[in-house]
C-alpha cells in the first residue's frame, strides 16, 4: 500500500485521537535505579552544560543536601533524591528526577502559544520567545517538572530539562548521562532501551520489579526507569494511567465546533418561535377584538334599523290616521253644509 493509501485508510473521527507510538528513532535514557549511588555528578554536569543555570550554594559533594526531599526549580533541571525504603534491602535508594520527555506531552498540549515541541530526537523543548507566562504547562504536567522564574519581572521563563537537545544535534550525549560513573543512566534509541530493560528484568528477577516505568505511563515517556524498590516509594506516581495527556481534553475541544454550529441556529429558532408566538397572540387578540366590535356593530345596526322601521311605520300610521281624520272631518263638514 502506498503512503497515501495508508493515510486514507486511517479513519478520521472528530475528537478521536490517533495512536502515536513515538518518533521511530527517538532517543531516550534508561535510569537503572539499582545502580545509582547518589554521587550527584549528573547534577553537576547539568549545571556545567547549561549556561543559564547557576552553581548551587552548597557544593555537589555536600551530602547534607540529600537529607531533604528536593524538586527541580528555576535554577536546577535535575535533582537526585535519597529514599530510605524499608522493604528494600539495599537501602538507601537514590533516584534522579528530571523532565521525562513524554511522547505526547501535557505541557505541549496545554500551551496556548504552541511554545513546546517534541523533536524527532525525542526531546521536549520550549521556546521562551513566544511564552506569555500563563503557567498552564506547570499545572498540566503530571510529573511536576516545569518550573517558573517567579522573581523575574521582565523576562520570566519556564525552566526545564531539554534532554540536552543542542548537544544531541551535535552528536554528543546528554550532560548527565556522560557524567554518570555507574552507568546508571543509559542513552539510546527508546525502543532499544526497552529491550535492554526487559532483558535486565528477565535475567535478574530478584533484583528488579517487573515494570518499566515510562513505557506506558501517560502514553509513554522517553525517560525510562527500572527499580528494585516499589516505584511509589521512590516518589513516582503509579496512578497516572496510560492515556496520553492530549486525550484528556480532546473530547471537550471537539465539542467546540458543534456548539459554534448548533447554538446560533437553536437560539435563532427559539427567537423566531417566540416572535411567531407573540405575533400570533397579537393577531388573535386583534381579530378577536375586531370580531367583537363587528358583532356589536351589527347588533347595533340591526337595532337601529328595527327602530327606524318601527318609527317609519308609526309615522305612516299617524299620517294615515291624520288623513283619515281630516277626510272624515271634511265629509262631516260638507254633510253639515249640505243639510
Amino acid at each position: 500500500m502506498t503512503a497515501a493509501g495508508a493515510a486514507m485508510a486511517v479513519p478520521k473521527v472528530a475528537g478521536a485521537y490517533g495512536e502515536f507510538s513515538g518518533h521511530p528513532d527517538a532517543y531516550g535514557v534508561l535510569h537503572d535505579i539499582t545502580l545509582c549511588i547518589g554521587c550527584r555528578l549528573c547534577e553537576k554536569a547539568c549545571v556545567e552544560v547549561n549556561d543559564d543555570l547557576p552553581m548551587p550554594e552548597k557544593p555537589f559533594d555536600d551530602e547534607s543536601v540529600l537529607e531533604k526531599r528536593r524538586r527541580t526549580d528555576d535554577k536546577t533541571y535535575t535533582v537526585v533524591n535519597r529514599y530510605d525504603v524499608e522493604s528494600h534491602q539495599n537501602s538507601p535508594v537514590f533516584r534522579k528526577f528530571q523532565c521525562n520527555h513524554c511522547m505526547e506531552p501535557a505541557c505541549m498540549s496545554s500551551c496556548f502559544v504552541d511554545a513546546y515541541s517534541k523533536t524527532p530526537e525525542g526531546a521536549v523543548v520550549y521556546d521562551a520567545s513566544v511564552c506569555v507566562g500563563c503557567r498552564y504547562c506547570i499545572v498540566a504536567c503530571p510529573f511536576d517538572v516545569p518550573t517558573y522564574e517567579y522573581n523575574d519581572p521582565l523576562e520570566p521563563k519556564v525552566m526545564k530539562c531539554t534532554l540536552c537537545h543542542p548537544r544531541l544535534l551535535e552528536g554528543k550525549l546528554p550532560g548527565c548521562v556522560e557524567a554518570c560513573p555507574q552507568e546508571s543512566l543509559l542513552f539510546g534509541r527508546r525502543e532499544d532501551l526497552i529491550a535492554v530493560a526487559r532483558e535486565r528484568i528477565r535475567k535478574h528477577p530478584d533484583r528488579y520489579i517487573d515494570h518499566i516505568y515510562g513505557e506506558h505511563e501517560m502514553g509513554g515517556t522517553n525517560w525510562l526507569y527500572i527499580s528494585g524498590a516499589p516505584f511509589e516509594e521512590l516518589g513516582f506516581r503509579t496512578d497516572l494511567g496510560t492515556a496520553p495527556a492530549p486525550k484528556l481534553t480532546s473530547g471537550a475541544l471537539s465539542a467546540v465546533p458543534i456548539i459554534v454550529g448548533v447554538w446560533p441556529a437553536l437560539l435563532g429558532g427559539i427567537y423566531v418561535m417566540t416572535r411567531t408566538k407573540e405575533k400570533t397572540t397579537t393577531r388573535e387578540k386583534d381579530s378577536a377584538v375586531r370580531e367583537a366590535i363587528e358583532t356589536t356593530q351589527a347588533a347595533a345596526d340591526e337595532a337601529r334599523k328595527k327602530a327606524a322601521e318601527k318609527g317609519k311605520a308609526d309615522k305612516e300610521k299617524a299620517v294615515e290616521l291624520a288623513v283619515k281624520k281630516a277626510l272624515e272631518k271634511t265629509a262631516k263638514e260638507s254633510a253639515e253644509e249640505g243639510s
Binding site: 524538586r71 526549580d73 498540549s109 506569555v132 499545572v139 519581572p153 520570566p156 481534553t249 417566540t274 407573540e278
Partner: protein, 390 residues
C-alpha cells in the same frame, strides 16, 4: 427632565469614596511591587502551585459571577420575556465590568502580560483549552462592550451610532450566548488534563458541563443579588418601570435558579455515581464536598422554591446570596482547595495577603466604575429621548 426622581447629593468625600480611594492607593503600590519585582514579590505561587488566588477567584469566580449578562439577555431578547426588560441593562453593565476586571486581573497573573495577544496573532496553540478560553473571553468582552455601548451613547446623545448598535441586538445576544456557553464550560475543561492533581470528588469528565450549568445559576443569582444592592444605593436613579418590575424579576429569576440548581445537584450526583466515589464522601474532603453540595446547592434551591411559593422576595434574595457564595466555594475548591490535595501540607498553597489585596483593588476599581456609570447613564431608567415603549 434629565433623570427620574430626586437625585441624591453624592459628596466627594463620602465614606465610600474614602474607603475606595484608600484601597486604590494601596492597590497601586502593590501593582508597583508586582511589575518591578515579578510574581514572586507579591504572591505565594511556587513550582508546585502555579495557579493561585488570581486564577481561582478573579478568573474562575469572576467569569462565573459575570454570567448575569448572557442569562438575562437570553431571557429577554431570545426567549421574549419582556417583563424582565428592566433587569437587562444592569446585567449587561455588570457583565461588561466583570469581564473587564477578569482581563485586568490576568494582566497581573501572567508572567509577560504585554504578550497576551500572542496566542491570536503570533503563535496559536489551539490544542490548549486555555486557547479556547482566551479566544472566547476576548471576543465576548467585545460583544459585552457593544451591548453596553447604547447606554453610553444615549448619555452622550449619539443617535446614529446608537441606532446601528440597537439594530444589532439580536445578533450580539446570540453570539454572546454561544461564546459564553463555550468559555464557561471550558473553564471547567481546563482541569480535565489534571486527573492526578484534582481530588476525585471534584474531578470528572463532566467538569465542562458542571461549570456551564452552575454558571447559569450564578448568573441568575447575581442579577438578584446585584439588584438588591443597587436598590439600596441607587433607588433615586430607578424609574417607575424598574421599581414596578423589580419583584417580578426576583420571583422569575428565583424560580429559574431553583430549576437550574436542582439540575446541577442531579448531575453532580451522577458525577459521583458514575466514577463510584461514594466511599470518598466519608473522608475530610468528602465532608467539604457535602457542605458545598448540601449547604450551597440544595439549600438555596429549596429556599428559592419556598420563596417563589410564598411570593417572598426577601427569602429569594437570601437564597441568591447563598448561591453566589456556593459558586465561589466551588471554584476555589477546584482551583485551590482540592487541587494538589496529595501534596504534603508544607507544599500546599495559601494566598499571600498581597494577592488578595490586588484582587480587592481590581474589584474596587470595578465597583467605582459601576457607580460612575449608573449615576450618569440610563441603566436603571429609560432615557426619555430614546424611549421605545416595549
Amino acid at each position: 427632565m434629565s433623570e427620574p426622581g430626586t437625585s441624591v447629593e453624592r459628596p466627594l468625600l463620602s465614606p465610600f469614596n474614602i474607603i475606595a480611594g484608600t484601597i486604590i492607593l494601596v492597590g497601586l503600590w502593590l501593582s508597583y511591587l508586582r511589575f518591578t519585582g515579578g510574581l514572586g514579590a507579591v504572591t505565594n505561587l511556587d513550582n508546585n502551585n502555579a495557579w493561585g488566588f488570581w486564577i481561582g477567584f478573579d478568573l474562575l469566580c469572576g467569569v462565573a459571577l459575570a454570567a448575569g449578562g448572557y442569562t438575562t439577555a437570553a431571557a429577554v431578547e431570545v426567549f421574549g420575556m419582556k417583563k424582565f426588560h428592566a433587569a437587562l441593562r444592569p446585567a449587561l453593565l455588570t457583565g461588561f465590568l466583570g469581564y473587564s476586571m477578569v482581563v485586568v486581573a490576568l494582566l497581573y497573573d501572567v508572567g509577560r502580560p504585554w504578550r497576551l495577544p500572542y496566542p491570536f496573532v503570533l503563535s496559536p496553540g489551539p490544542t490548549s483549552v486555555l486557547f479556547e478560553v482566551g479566544a472566547c473571553v476576548m471576543l465576548y468582552l467585545i460583544v459585552l462592550f457593544l451591548e453596553f455601548s447604547p447606554m453610553a451613547l444615549e448619555w452622550l446623545g449619539e443617535r446614529k451610532l446608537r441606532r446601528v448598535l440597537v439594530r444589532m441586538t439580536l445578533l450580539l445576544t446570540i453570539f454572546g450566548i454561544t461564546l459564553s456557553t463555550l468559555h464557561q464550560s471550558s473553564l471547567g475543561a481546563l482541569f480535565l488534563i489534571v486527573p492526578s492533581k484534582l481530588h476525585p470528588l471534584w474531578y470528572s469528565s463532566y467538569l465542562p458541563v458542571f461549570f456551564f450549568v452552575s454558571s447559569v445559576a450564578a448568573g441568575l443569582s447575581m442579577v438578584i443579588f446585584e439588584g438588591t444592592l443597587a436598590r439600596r444605593g441607587f433607588a433615586d436613579k430607578m424609574d417607575e418601570e424598574h421599581k414596578r418590575t423589580a419583584d417580578a424579576v426576583v420571583l422569575g429569576f428565583g424560580k429559574a435558579a431553583a430549576f437550574v440548581l436542582a439540575a446541577y445537584f442531579a448531575i453532580k450526583v451522577f458525577g459521583v455515581a458514575l466514577d463510584d466515589n461514594w466511599r470518598l464522601l466519608a473522608t475530610n474532603y468528602g465532608l467539604w464536598f457535602l457542605l458545598e453540595m448540601l449547604g450551597f446547592v440544595l439549600l438555596p434551591c429549596f429556599l428559592f422554591l419556598v420563596g417563589v411559593r410564598d411570593l417572598n422576595p426577601t427569602l429569594i434574595r437570601w437564597a441568591a446570596f447563598l448561591t453566589v457564595l456556593g459558586i465561589v466555594l466551588n471554584r476555589l475548591s477546584i482551583c485551590l482547595i482540592a487541587f494538589n490535595w496529595q501534596l504534603p501540607q508544607a507544599d500546599r498553597y495559601f494566598p499571600h495577603w498581597m494577592e488578595i489585596g490586588i484582587s480587592v483593588f481590581v474589584v474596587t476599581v470595578g465597583v467605582t466604575a459601576y457607580r460612575f456609570i449608573v449615576t450618569r447613564m440610563p441603566v436603571f431608567y429609560e432615557h426619555p429621548d430614546f424611549s421605545e415603549g416595549h
